[in-house]
Point group: C2
Chain length 470, copies 2
């Protein structure tokens, strides 16, 4: 049994090696497009990114490539039928939009001018998520080269959305509207990461996300803190007191109803977490942080993978310029986000937070709260057979035991599961040090090529497992 596998592995590797340079040049061209979905002035760039990808997928060989408009940024759809009437259909999901990035945020180089430093490719989107979408292009070509096929062993579909970094506000509607075209037997989400370079892993779940912006209004304009200070409510103080009240003394979220319905970790899941070679000092270095801190009674891995959070992403109010300005500010703002885990309902969380905020504020402080589109939490059953295909394909690429993790971040995987009624699996090669959403984001080139290899092995394995399934 081992000979054909080894042959396939070496054929795939040789093909990838031959095409590596062109693949990286193409990826760099895509990374140069600043497809920041959160910033309205980058809307033309997000559209350009979609057009670029559609053209590149056509060049890759996909007979069908389409740019799908939404009420926001467009998504890219591509389809490559197997030709085999028995072949399963797989939908690969990723996104082509990126987080905001500016040189002054602390980047060593222009975030939209990719540079290779050693074995790393630095650019906004290198890992999250353009790199991980793009490995499927060379992956499917290597699959064809290694198998001598002219079409993939599965009916391959790609859906690459343009608003993931803005909370996918139109994604649910898009996939509902296009459900017929998107029908699949399994969904492969390529927007997650692995434990580390040395410990390849498959992710089995993502946290959900609800986020809101709260504007707090006090005096109708900034007023003199000498003339009025001490006798009127200060909206910056009110904002701060809200944030301080978000957590109790055990660092648990103090919003009543927040934990309703939550699915607690099983003993087996805790064991799998504990099997991983977690080194707190090293994790802190990756987190660029100087201490751990979080909900009492849980390990760091449990806190980031399986426990919900309330986080301040931004706070502002009053005078932030040089020197002092002795005012009671007129307004303040908060950007809060809540990571959600299996069992939590985003609508319920939104209602709970809305009621809690209104209840916390003193007389004289008016407020407005606006929620973005929520992302549901998602969990793949550990015993799902398709998970084994992913594990085997990764095993061929990495030649190591593949372990299990979860992802603390969020994606619209749960919507795909709901709407398409298909199991969702995760295939990602990013590592925590890649700096998602941070300055100097990068992807490890060796891992990126392992991603190509995994994709090259996956379609044959999945088609075979499907044929063998009862």
């Amino acid at each position: 049994m081992s000979k054909p596998v080894d042959n396939a592995v070496s054929t795939v590797r040789a093909y990838i090696e031959d095409h590596r340079e062109a693949f990286l040049d193409d990826l760099a061209a895509w990374l140069r497009i600043p497809s920041v979905s959160a910033q309205p002035d980058h809307a033309p760039d997000v559209r350009r990114s979609a057009d670029w990808l559609a053209a590149k997928l056509a060049e890759t060989g996909f007979p069908t490539t389409e740019v799908w408009p939404t009420a926001g940024a467009p998504a890219v759809f591509a389809e490559w039928p197997s030709g085999d009437p028995e072949a399963p259909t797989v939908l690969v999901y990723g996104h082509h939009d990126v987080q905001p990035a500016a040189r002054e945020d602390g980047w060593d180089t222009d975030p939209f001018e990719p540079v290779v430093v050693g074995n790393r490719l630095h650019a906004r989107g290198a890992a999250d998520d353009k790199g991980q979408v793009f490995f499927h292009t060379l992956g499917v070509r290597a699959h064809l080269a290694a198998t001598g096929r002219t079409a993939p062993a599965v009916n391959l579909k790609l859906l690459v959305e343009g608003e993931e970094e803005s909370g996918s506000p139109h994604f649910r509607k898009l996939i509902e509207d296009r459900k017929e075209r998107l029908t699949a037997d399994a969904v492969i989400v390529s927007d997650t990461g692995m434990w580390s370079e040395d410990t390849p892993t498959v992710c089995t779940g993502m946290r959900g996300l609800a986020d809101c912006e709260i504007e707090l209004y006090g005096p109708d304009q900034d007023i003199h803190s000498g003339s009025f200070g001490g006798a009127v409510p200060n909206p910056a103080t009110a904002a701060a007191r809200l944030v301080a009240a978000l957590h109790d003394e055990h660092a648990r979220v103090a919003v009543p109803g927040f934990y309703d319905g939550i699915v607690e970790l099983t003993d087996r899941e805790r064991e799998l977490f504990a099997e991983l070679p977690f080194d707190e000092e090293q994790w802190l270095r990756t987190a660029k942080s100087h201490a751990t801190f979080g909900e009492a009674g849980h390990t760091t891995l449990e806190r980031i993978w399986a426990r919900p959070t309330a986080e301040v992403n931004g706070i502002g109010g009053g005078y932030q310029g040089p020197g002092g300005k002795t005012i009671v500010p007129s307004s303040a703002m908060l950007k809060l986000s809540f990571r959600l885990v299996a069992g939590q309902d985003p609508d319920h969380v939104e209602k709970a937070v809305t009621a809690w905020v209104a209840d916390q504020l003193p007389a004289g402080i008016r407020h407005e709260i606006t929620f973005g589109a929520a992302t549901r939490p998602c969990l793949t059953p550990l015993d799902h057979p398709a998970l084994q295909s992913v594990v085997r394909a990764m095993g061929k690429a990495f030649e190591q035991k593949i372990r299990f993790t979860r992802e603390g971040g969020s994606g619209p995987a749960a919507d795909l599961q709901d709407v398409l009624d298909a199991p969702v699996l995760f295939l990602g090669i990013s590592v925590p040090s890649d700096g998602w959403h941070a300055p100097n984001e990068k992807v490890e080139l060796d891992l990126l090529m392992k991603g190509v290899e995994t994709a090259a092995h996956l379609w044959g394995d999945l088609a075979e497992s499907w044929a063998e399934a009862p």
Copy 2:
């Protein structure tokens, strides 16, 4: 007794009426100079403002006018000897720098292009403090015109500093260095306000001010709130928790030692406060606020005049742009200011706050705290005879009973008292609706002219009281 007074009043009024237009044109020219001391790029404007004022005082008739450099912005000194060897010496204090102002802060017009709307002159500095410095120029001319003198009845000195809105960091050193030139029998501070247009008042004290900026550092860069959120400390949360902890449930400042040494209000002082026609609804309108809020057990007037405060002037951290950014921010900042009352020592408050902040922060959050130069609190004894001169001069101008207030704001009056060993009196005609430090700052033109009249009557009264003093 009443005839000569009436004659003086009408002569003064006629003189002022004749010179009103030129006076307002000159003031407008000065207000056009954006002498913002807190913003380094306005340093040339602050110097230009000093030069302009020195030239104008020379034109007014002051035989000596000098621009005094400091390590920061320059002050203006002017001197006009009485010629009478028995005459007392009076030092008038004000400042020629202004608070920051920008059209986008909510101004209806350019803050540095004065406009008269009805009976109000709008410009940054119209009330705080250029208008109230400037009324002394026409005041002393009217005094000469009404008395037939060629020099004032007192030895008149003016000291107009250029860094009051930045906490007067070099003022103490300046007056210590120039103590010989500044020697005076009394100091008149023209940088305060009155109760209202209908209730003219003399101020008997100012609060002091200590302020600090606190920088809080968490992760070395912004990190992904999905990958790391819930397991590391967030500096924006730490900033918010500091602010929330500043006050206890009675809205008292919770920093241990903050109230040490404080002089409590006497029953007589509470009575004088209670005599004023305080209308909470009207006060709230002036404060542009929608509720009162403050230390339990005290009235609003007591809170703003005689109780110390801790106020957030600015807070910032993380992403404040459009849309969302799901990060744990790398840093956050706070600008806090503390109003101080008689008996509080700014150095002691600084030490107390510094120790308290260090004690509050969780592991993994590094901080830096920087205090600006403090301003001491100041209180004029109610029974001081010179206070009666001010009251009489105002009485002639306003033809009403003059009542007593305090000022919630802060000025370097206490330093003048300390260094020059002279009583400090307050003469101000600004009203609370003037919008100090706020957009659309203005001065009421009728009150500005009453200021001129008061200044015109004051020097003769003071010289006479001095001669009659035992």
